[in-house]
């Protein structure tokens, strides 16, 4: 018998006659709460919670009106003296506009044709949007969609600047799972890279980006 059939036969023999189980789902499920929803007050509460939870992970967080995204991005890139920046396909160009208009544009590089791992390792930072953000856990989810790029883009550069748009923040994990598609490769990001491997204390900064900066558009 091949191993597939053997394992399946063993499983059937092992559970024969065992009772099945109903799954009680009495926990808080999909709330439907999200920014950009019916009540602006509910949206503000989610934004504040997301900002607070991200700061707990020592991410740098800004909450600004949508019109001010470009100026916060400029301030962040200037402060960090970021040199070359990876810009994935589909990122809203408005986020990278500089005032006054005739200023020199950022030193950016796209991912088409695909950058090699070594090239990516050589850039200073990456700017992306996201698919969903979860307020309760302080999590940003990327699904490799527009303005996010493939997974390696947010992995190799040491600095990740992420813009969370209006309408992307949900209350809890069930809301996020319901919005996301399993067919896309997902990366759930909760703060900068960290480890608890030395005496079980959290230390930020191992292999992923050591700085995570988040701009939340109100």
């Amino acid at each position: 018998m091949n191993s597939r059939d053997l394992i399946l036969a063993r499983v059937r023999g092992a559970v024969a006659g065992a009772p099945d189980v109903e799954v009680p789902r009495a926990y808080r499920g999909v709330t439907g709460d999200a920014t950009g929803g019916a009540t602006p007050a509910g949206g503000d509460r989610l934004i504040d919670l997301l900002a607070e939870r991200l700061r707990d992970y020592r991410a740098i967080v800004h909450v600004v009106p949508e019109a001010e995204i470009a100026s916060v991005v400029e301030e962040a890139l200037t402060r960090r003296k970021t040199g070359r920046l990876v810009v994935p396909d589909g990122l809203p160009p408005a986020w990278l506009e500089r005032e006054p208009r005739d200023r020199e544009p950022y030193d950016t590089v796209g991912d088409d044709p695909e950058l090699s791992a070594a090239d990516l390792d050589g850039v200073d930072g990456v700017i992306t949007g996201c698919a969903v953000a979860i307020a309760e856990t302080g999590t940003i989810v990327l699904d490799a969609g527009h303005g996010q790029g493939r997974r390696a883009l947010t992995l190799l550069p040491d600095y990740h600047l992420c813009v969370v748009g209006a309408g992307q923040i949900v209350a809890g994990v069930p809301d996020a799972v319901a919005r996301l598609s399993p067919e896309r490769p997902l990366t759930w990001i909760s703060g900068p890279s960290a480890t608890s491997d030395i005496e079980l204390n959290r230390v930020e900064g191992v292999h992923g980006p050591r700085t995570l900066e988040v701009v939340i558009a109100r």
């Binding site: 009495a26 390792d121 319901a178 990001i189």
Partner: protein, 474 residues
């Protein structure tokens, strides 16, 4: 059943848990390290679990989802296989450690590569994959910080989540300074024992390796039958490096890691991070379905004794385990004895019920593991999938073969208790001989009376008194 291999050399099975533990508790550095680490994580876990008003409901859902999956495991495994294949992945089935190692070695050799990078994985630890690959001329590089510490230190893992929990920062610095150079880029000059500096040293040591290695090996925290999706939770980003950059990805996953539907992640992505690292969410979670972003993807489904555990009505609940390690962190026995005393890659309370079931109760060590507990029940209380570890421990104690003297004594007691007239005769004899009962038992039985008093035998039994006095009337 032939003994299932669980990632420990046969020599580790010769000594019982008590003798391993007796050695470990004399190591004051180890006890200090463990106490510090387990107490830190206990408090963190309690606080983030306490934040959720529906923790108990999540726990009950998690338990039921796992039980339902295990009951229908054959159906869900076939569904998973179809979904992974449809998404461009390849599925392999391995009945035991040997077969899994052969499959992985074959896949690696087919790529023509001789080096692989690894994401921390209990399943590959369990089957001894690194050693098996080494025998085939393939070097496996561990990339998780704690696994790196264990690999560089030529050591054994002692905790499910933090395999190097028995090492403190000064010891880690020493290992990095002495051994990193043999494996690749040496530790930086003047390395301090600051955790931040140690993490930076690991970053530098592994960076070039991540960029150049063509094959990666991982496990998975969850597999979704409905969609064929695999899920890996991690902290450092080494997992993302391995899952994303290499051209070929091979995942070795125990068959019990299944969840039926995508929606079920809403439960487990809340239960696992809060229970394991005591965080609202771990820094990075990756999910992928089949061949993602043009990668070649192989899934190796591993039995290695799991179907044997599944057949046990009481013991099968151990297969609900999501390897969070909360039970280790609260266990008073683990805190003092440490992980190595359990002689398995699965230490602590969960190891005490999982190891003897996977490996069988044949060795001295495995027979002693169900006793590596005071049955205080703290492990059950923190378990995010409500595994009643004390219940399984007691059940295994009954199944394990007991020492000859104990079996003879129990057989004699059984023979006496079986008939009331035998019991009455024994009680009368005991009453008459009571002044000959010693205060301390002789020979090996003296260990029992070292810490206990032999109960006084009454002059007369209750039944004897009743018969003589008619219940006190005469």
């Amino acid at each position: 059943m032939t003994r299932t291999f669980l990632g420990m050399p046969a020599s580790a099975l010769q000594r019982s848990f008590p003798s391993n533990a007796a050695k470990a508790v004399r190591d004051s550095q180890l006890r200090f390290n463990l106490r510090k680490a387990t107490h830190t994580i206990r408090d963190k876990r309690a606080s983030v679990v306490g934040e959720l008003p529906d923790w108990e409901e999540l726990r009950q859902a998690g338990k039921a989802i796992k039980d339902h999956t295990l009951r229908n495991l054959d159906r869900y495994l076939v569904q998973l296989e179809e979904a992974v294949t449809a998404a461009g992945g390849h599925v392999h089935w391995a009945r035991d450690a040997d077969e899994a190692n052969r499959i992985v070695a074959g896949l690696v050799k087919a790529t023509g590569e001789t080096e692989v990078v690894k994401v921390k994985s209990m399943a590959t630890q369990e089957i001894g994959l690194n050693e098996a690959l080494a025998a085939e001329g393939v070097t496996a590089y561990e990339t998780d910080l704690a696994e790196l510490i264990v690999q560089l230190g030529d050591d054994w893992p002692s905790h499910i989540l933090v395999p190097a929990i028995h090492r403190n920062r000064a010891e880690i610095r020493e290992i990095f300074q002495e051994r990193m150079g043999e494996w690749g880029r040496p530790a930086p000059e003047g390395l301090t024992d600051e955790p931040r500096a140690l993490a930076e040293a690991a970053r530098l040591h592994l960076r070039e390796r991540f960029l150049s290695t063509k094959v990666a090996i991982s496990g998975a925290n969850f597999m979704i039958a409905e969609t064929g999706t695999l899920v890996v939770l991690e902290s450092e980003g080494n997992g993302r490096m391995c899952l994303t950059l290499p051209r070929t990805l091979i995942s070795v996953v125990g068959i019990e890691k299944l969840l039926p539907s995508w929606r079920d992640l809403e439960v487990f992505l809340q239960l696992l991070p809060r229970s394991s690292t005591g965080e609202r969410m771990n820094p990075y979670t990756s999910t992928w379905t089949g061949a993602a972003e043009g990668q070649e993807f192989h899934l190796v489904l591993l039995d290695n004794g799991r179907t044997h555990v599944l057949a046990d009505e009481v013991g099968r609940q151990a297969l609900r385990c999501i390897r969070c390690s909360a039970c280790l962190n609260v266990c008073p026995v683990y805190e003092r004895a440490g992980g190595h005393a359990y002689g398995s890659v699965y230490p602590g309370p969960i190891g005490a019920i999982l190891t003897p079931q996977l490996r069988g109760l044949d060795s001295e060590l495995d027979r002693s593991l169900p006793y590596a507990s005071s049955l205080c029940g703290a492990c059950y209380e923190v378990c995010p999938v409500a595994i009643d570890i004390p219940q399984v421990l007691v059940d295994l104690r009954a199944k394990a073969r007991h020492p000859r003297a104990e079996r003879l004594g129990m057989a004699a007691a059984g023979w006496i208790f079986n008939r009331p007239e035998r019991l009455a005769r024994a009680q009368r004899a005991g009453g008459r001989l009571r002044r000959f009962v010693p205060k301390r038992l002789p020979g090996p039985m003296s260990a029992w009376t070292d810490t206990r008093d032999i109960p006084d035998i009454p002059r007369e039994s209750f039944r004897g008194w009743w018969d003589r006095t008619g219940g006190g009337d005469r």
